[in-house]
């Protein structure tokens, strides 16, 4: 059974049909990539899944449950974490604090207990911290642990964002252009991380990416969209070979950007 089922999804902003009848499903443990020209509606699909936008039509099912009617903050509870294309970190907090905020869904204390800082709160704090340190180690963020986000280079912020999503301990992780703004070397790290996420952590990954080398390297299946409509779906090779995809998206030099 598939983990995520998107069926005939559509959203319109005024006259702009940002997403217009997209369907796909992601299997557990899969790395699924969405590609397409700028403005094709990729980020909008993410925003629909994380319930920031209200779909005009269509349904989204996760783990057998219809999540189309849920609120944005309920989505994380189900085990869906995401990153943002333009980086939406908590700028005035440290990396550590940002990652700890990712643990919000795992807190079981209420605010009165928090104010009194009962032993239970401390126990949970230790546990959160433990989990977060694992993420820090995994993403090699040790050097930045106590740095404020506001002063970090672009690339590190991208990584912190991935870390925050991982700290949530999700089943499905949505990555919006994880490699944009990263050098080849760093993109390679991202590729390894995605593989580890899937292999060691058992995560399912849904990703939007323009860097075809990364897409080729990690993804099992690829969906190409253009103008809000699906264009092609299949293995990375199949999709890249599709003439429409080449014309609308890749241009002449296929794979040259590697």
């Amino acid at each position: 059974m598939s983990l995520l089922d998107v069926n005939d999804l559509a959203v319109h902003f005024g006259g702009v049909k940002a997403v217009d009848g997209v369907s796909f499903s992601v299997d557990p443990g899969e790395v699924f990539a969405i590609i397409g020209p700028n403005g094709a509606g990729k980020s909008t699909i993410f925003n629909l899944i994380s319930r920031i936008y209200e779909p005009t039509r269509g349904t989204i099912r996760f783990d057998g449950q219809d999540i189309t009617g849920l609120k944005a903050h309920d989505i994380a509870q189900l085990g869906i974490a995401r990153t943002f294309q333009n980086i939406e970190l908590f700028d005035h907090s440290t990396v550590l604090a940002n990652l700890l905020m990712g643990r919000h869904t795992h807190k079981s204390t209420n605010f009165v207990q928090d104010i009194l800082f009962l032993p239970k709160v401390r126990r949970e704090e230790r546990e959160h911290r433990h989990r977060v340190e694992e993420v820090i180690e995994f993403l090699e963020l040790e050097a930045y642990r106590n740095k404020m986000i506001a002063g970090l280079p672009y690339g590190v912020r991208k990584v912190v964002e991935i870390g925050r999503a991982l700290a949530l301990g999700p089943k499905l992780i949505l990555l919006d252009e994880p490699a944009s703004g990263l050098s080849v070397e760093e993109t390679q790290d991202v590729a390894y991380w995605i593989e580890d996420m899937r292999r060691d952590m058992g995560l399912t990954v849904l990703m939007v990416e323009h860097d075809m080398s990364l897409v080729n390297q990690v993804s099992d299946r690829v969906l190409a969209v253009a103008n809000g409509k699906p264009l092609a779906m299949g293995t990375p090779q199949e999709v890249q070979a599709h003439p429409d995809v080449q014309a609308a998206y890749l241009g002449t030099a296929v794979g040259d950007a590697a």
């Binding site: 980020s43 925003n47 920031i52 943002f84 294309q85 333009n86 939406e88």
Partner: protein, 281 residues
């Protein structure tokens, strides 16, 4: 109606500065007060005694200088700091303005001598104060002029750009700080006009700047970034106030402008002409 225009005019001052820097000048009401006093200083017979028109123009020039100078000397130094800093700064500046006016003109109410004081027109049997007509006319003219300034001039566009992204405005070559000075100067002029028109209704003293709070409410009702919104907000408050004063029970009447404001904000959190949208992520 005329009163609403005065709220609207002061609100225009708020909007001007908001449109150009997304800052809120809490001393706007006090600038209005100062403008009225400067005009009085030039115009009243026991002061310098200049003809009304000359005094008005001189007052506008002086207040342009005051606005411009305040930006140059004080506001500029907190460039790049969050909006909130400007709020606190201008609150403190309001105290200074009041002190200055109080030291020069004293704390007792004074009356500005205007050619239209106490003169009424009787078109078709109803009584219309000449001052009210002037107020309405001037307000409409000023709103239109400012609207055209922002909509059609390069500087107007640049000012809006600067409020949305200071760095990007600099990158395209907008002298952000000089534009800001100019806008502050302009808001000084608008404040003077508002102050003089206010003064036609009665007396002025250094504390009439308190009106600024209600004018600010007007600007917020309209949606802070919108000039017609400011005028509309001012008119709404100006119309609701006397109507509620007339028909609603006392306490409710006093609360009425604020209740309206709450209702507007709860339903449209960015005011009637809202320019707040959800961030695209």
């Amino acid at each position: 109606m005329a009163n609403g225009c005065i709220y609207g005019l002061v609100a225009l001052g708020f909007v001007l500065i908001y449109k150009a820097s997304e800052g809120v000048n809490f001393a706007q009401g006090d600038m209005m007060m100062l403008g009225a006093f400067v005009a009085l200083g030039f115009g009243n017979s026991d002061q310098m005694g200049l003809p009304f028109g000359v005094a008005m123009i001189l007052a506008m020039v002086v207040m342009f200088g005051v606005g411009y100078g305040v930006e140059r000397v004080v506001v500029r130094r907190i460039f790049g700091q969050p909006q909130f800093a400007l709020v606190i700064l201008t609150i403190a500046m309001g105290f200074v303005f009041r002190f200055v006016a109080g030291s020069i003109w004293g704390y007792s109410p004074l009356v500005l001598e205007t050619p239209f004081a106490g003169r009424n027109l009787y078109p078709g049997g109803i009584v219309v104060g000449l001052a009210d007509l002037v107020t309405i006319g001037v307000t409409i003219a000023l709103t239109l002029a400012l609207w055209a300034f922002f909509a059609f001039t390069k500087i107007g566009l640049a000012a809006q750009a600067a409020s949305q992204n200071q760095m990007a405005a600099y990158i395209v070559g907008v002298p952000v700080m000089r534009v800001n000075s100019l806008i502050w100067g302009l808001s000084g002029v608008v404040a003077t006009v508002a102050g003089v028109l206010y003064a036609t209704k009665g007396a002025i003293d250094p504390n009439i700047g308190l009106l600024g709070i209600k004018a600010f409410a007007a600007a917020v009702i309209g949606g802070l970034g919108s000039l017609p919104g400011a005028l509309l907000g001012g008119l709404i408050i100006g119309v609701v106030e006397p109507i509620a004063g007339r028909y609603a029970p006392g306490e409710l009447a006093k609360m009425s402008p604020y209740i309206i404001m709450l209702v507007v904000l709860v339903t449209r959190p960015g005011g009637l002409f809202a320019q707040i949208q959800m961030k695209k992520v």
